[in-house]
Symmetry: C2
Subunit: 276 residues, 2 copies
């Protein structure tokens, strides 16, 4: 097939069995928090797991994973970093600090490709990709060229977030990426003083949206200061293990992702895998 | 100057005195909520005000402003809609519903230009621009070609939001757009049950960041279910007027924006204005 044709073949990434995209229509809904904690949970559950931070403009994975080293290259292959059993790559490792990346679309395209195929991921059961929010260039590049097994869409229950999340679901559908499910994050807040429940951003909209769009509902997660502090300090709550109630929800979701990915793979038929 | 040269002249927008950009490093921090309420407050304070929703991927202004009509054109000029005394233009008016905009950078560039110069804004004291979050194509296009008077940067007090907000400030500085100030949004939540204060996303980081970066601190806003409901229902809290405590904070900030814009204009020297 000549380059420039519409239906490019989605070449497999050597050694990577499942590619899980975590997306959202709107930013600030906890997409990276979900991606980081799912990746840690998958690793703790015994799967070989990588996490690619594709949010090149706002790469928060290094902060949340407590890593800020500069990766090295062996030959032409960038070596991923690793923490909590998860192999990691992020633009934040290459351009740390306050410097903004004022880049245009075509440059982003090549960065994402470099991260997908130029990083020495090794053999992975799951490569979780933290997409930038929205339906822009990076998402397009990725989805059009990578064999994404399925997508998880994160939203809050607020109407503005749901409005944008529906667009993200439609985007994945248009490019034939199966939706593994919807997560309603910041679903409620338990007051630390009186223990009463506060519906900060309304509640229940994520579950309704999943039903309306024929997608699986993966769960409702509270707005939890502990989860936020875990991310801000580089110790995500999933690191406390599946038995600790602070991060248990993420293990339940990780298991649903494993189930969903298996279903999506079986529907899609056997995949060609290439090993080095 | 020939096209393609680096330092393009920033042509004034005929009739528009001040162009105020509202940006954030991260999404979901309340940037649109701030932009909408500042615009309504400016209009209520007697200024001729417009609001351009440049967040073409996630245009939430129509929902928040309670408008979903399709704008008409007179000749070749798109007529803005108007609500609460504010002239409005948004991609959401042109592409309503769930359909995602899967667009690449160059297409966005022309949309933003069309919105800036092809819309019949008339005479405005303030045109508030709700930028998309981050430091990407749309921000670049806008800042490189429009005479932005100054920028307001919105952040939450969480470390991940502050990390991205610093990048946004640096981006504006690099392209010589004055920072009018920093707003710390979702600074705390007052429990509706026990009235105690909850620091959901930590607190105080916005003020510290402003100090560290030599920028003005415009104020800390609580995470308020009333403000969120106002946006979700198309009745932003600023519509209740400056005396109502639900929206009073936005009037205080609007006045600081007016002061800051006057200072920025006087430092920049007299601006050439062109009228039709």
């Amino acid at each position: 097939m000549s380059p420039g044709q519409q239906a490019q073949p989605k070449l497999p990434i050597p050694g990577v069995k499942n590619l899980i995209a975590v997306g959202s229509g709107k930013g600030g809904v906890g997409k990276t928090t979900v991606a980081v904690n799912i990746a840690i949970a998958l690793a703790r559950l015994g799967f070989r797991t990588g996490l690619l931070d594709a949010d090149v403009y706002g790469p928060n994975v290094p902060l949340m994973m407590g890593m800020n080293q500069t990766p090295t290259a062996v030959g032409e292959r960038i070596q991923p970093l690793e923490n909590y059993g998860v192999k990691l790559m992020s633009m934040g490792f290459l351009s740390p600090g306050d410097k903004p990346l004022v880049w245009r679309g075509p440059m982003l395209h090549s960065v994402v490709q470099q991260f997908l195929r130029g990083v020495d991921w090794g053999d992975l059961d799951y490569l979780v990709i933290d997409l930038p929010p929205g339906t822009g260039d990076v998402q397009l590049s990725l989805i059009q060229t990578a064999p994404v097994t399925g997508a998880v869409v994160v939203t809050t229950p607020s109407d503005v977030s749901l409005e944008d999340a529906r667009k993200a679901v439609r985007m994945f559908e248009q490019v034939k990426v199966p939706i593994l499910g919807i997560i309603e994050n910041m679903s409620w807040l338990q007051c630390p003083h009186c223990d009463e429940r506060i519906d900060v951003f309304s509640t229940g909209g994520g579950r309704r949206m999943a039903k309306d769009m024929g997608a699986k509902f993966l769960g409702a997660l509270p707005l939890s200061p502990q989860v936020r502090i875990g991310g801000d300090t580089g110790h995500p709550v999933a690191t406390f293990g599946p038995e600790d109630k602070r991060g248990a929800d993420f293990y339940a979701i990780a298991k649903l992702v494993v189930e969903g990915a298996a279903e999506a793979s079986s529907v899609a038929g056997p995949t060609m895998t290439v090993s080095d």
